[in-house]
């Protein structure tokens, strides 16, 4: 069927059967993995529960990573939102809180769901749990949306990459952002075509995004980039749901992402040799944490 090799195929399959992308994927995977749809749904639900828990853990005031580089941003953001001091209202504010929380939980050796990676683990939970709260959605629809996001992620993985070492942060936070945009669109009642446009728009916004982790750790700027990622996911979904289309089709955007990643120097692909990692502060922090390396 090739539904995991092109967004076009994925959307076409959903349209031809007049079903949501999530249902197409669940049915196909049940067949592929020789399990029932109920069993697969249950597995995905386990991940959903971990995502929820990781938000709770990550908003604690005393979060601190082993290196000391990160922890506490989610708490600060939460205080701002809870006291009505943030700029963009509760929904968006809480999305940022969740993205920061899960990402910080990851940095502090908490339990998270790699989606698609540990470095980008805050984006999809933040997007989905925020719209779930805002629209009082039931968990079933949200868990199904994880199948949608997963399918978009598979297309990206098959045609480009979901690894920072290969494609920079485009491949991790960028992919997560695009996956979340598609899932948000489906959850908000958008069509499969809209979900594809949401993915394309989210992805084209992060082309060129580098992987430049300070001291080589999944902390700075990774935690804050997860916040950017959920924001960008909402951008993709909002525009698509308003009927705005990506001029460049999603599949071509994915290939463009791959080509940009290939053109990136290794210094900007998870080697901590460029970007923020090689700033004076970045270098100083590396020395402080790891000694002379």
């Amino acid at each position: 069927m090739g539904i995991y090799y092109s967004i076009e195929n994925l959307v076409a399959a959903a349209l031809s059967e007049n079903k949501k992308i999530s249902q197409i994927v669940l049915t196909e995977q049940a067949h592929e993995l020789e399990k029932t749809e109920e069993e697969l749904y249950h597995i995905m639900r386990e991940s959903f529960l971990v995502m929820q828990q990781s938000v709770v853990e990550g908003t604690a005031p005393d979060m601190r990573s082993v290196s000391g580089l990160t922890g506490g941003n989610a708490y600060k953001m939460k205080c701002a939102v809870d006291s009505n001091k943030n700029l963009c209202g509760k929904v968006f504010g809480n999305a940022l809180v969740r993205a920061l929380a899960v990402s910080e939980s990851n940095a502090c050796m908490g339990r998270i769901v790699a989606a698609p990676t540990a470095g980008s683990c805050g984006i999809i939970p933040a997007a989905l749990l925020s719209i779930m709260e805002d629209r009082s959605l039931n968990e079933h629809d949200v868990i199904m949306a994880l199948f949608t996001s997963s399918a978009f992620g598979m297309v990206i993985a098959n045609n480009a990459s979901i690894s920072g070492a290969e494609g920079g942060c485009q491949a991790e936070c960028g992919s997560a952002s695009a996956m979340a945009a598609a899932a948000l669109t489906e959850l908000a009642g958008g069509t499969p075509q809209m979900a594809a446009h949401a993915c394309a728009i989210a992805l084209q916004n992060i082309l060129g995004l580098v992987c430049d982790p300070v001291a080589g750790l999944v902390e700075v700027p990774c935690v804050n980039r997860n916040a950017m990622g959920v924001a960008n996911a909402f951008v993709g979904a909002e525009l698509a749901l308003a009927g705005i289309e990506s001029v460049i089709p999603a599949d071509e955007v994915i290939v463009a992402m791959k080509r940009v990643g290939d053109a990136m120097p290794n210094a900007l692909k998870e080697t901590s040799e460029g970007g923020l990692a090689s700033t004076p502060t970045g270098k100083r922090l590396k020395k402080e944490i790891f000694g002379e390396v």
Binding site: C108, M109, A118
Partner: protein, 219 residues
Amino acid sequence: MNVFDIVGPVMIGPSSSHTAGAVRIGKIAGALLGNAPVSAHIFLHGSFAKTYKGHGTDKALVAGIMGMTPSDTRIRQSLELAKEQGITVVFEKAELEGAHPNTAVITLKDAQGRTVTVRGASVGGGNIVISEINGMKVDITGQQTTLLILHHDVPGVIAHVTNYIASQGVNIGNFKLSRTQRGETALMTIEVDGEFSKESNKGIETMPDVIQSIILQPS
């Protein structure tokens, strides 16, 4: 690739390669020792050596050695837990020629003095490759049920073992033979489709010229 490779796995952070993968390497070493270890000597090479403290690689490796999975919340306290259980743990940096940048060489010893030395690499996304067991070359990813059969290198043993596996209705997905010297001891690494029971494994262990047979469950 399936949906759960993309949204998943559930893991302890921060890094698929430096944390989750490290747990899996440790877990295989622990499984190969069989009994509870009293000491663990761990050499770290490359990126593992440079960043292990920040990524919790040390905690992850020890957690795996003690049998934890990559999603076990006790990973954070594994070093303390090891101390409580009387396991001596030593970490050392090493320069290993040509090794993958995320390589660990783990030597475990049990109360009877039995040791096992395992060399493994974390190759990305939580995937691992075990490349050496007790000096013998292997190629284990741990994704399928794997049989490790140490035997005397004489004619007929391999046929005997593989025929037996067939008689159990189990299909072989991959087979690798490693030997130190012709006629000495050799190691079969056999990946099978599906499961292989402990009872079936006993059937292999009791064969003439088989020294030891270990089942590595997928992990």
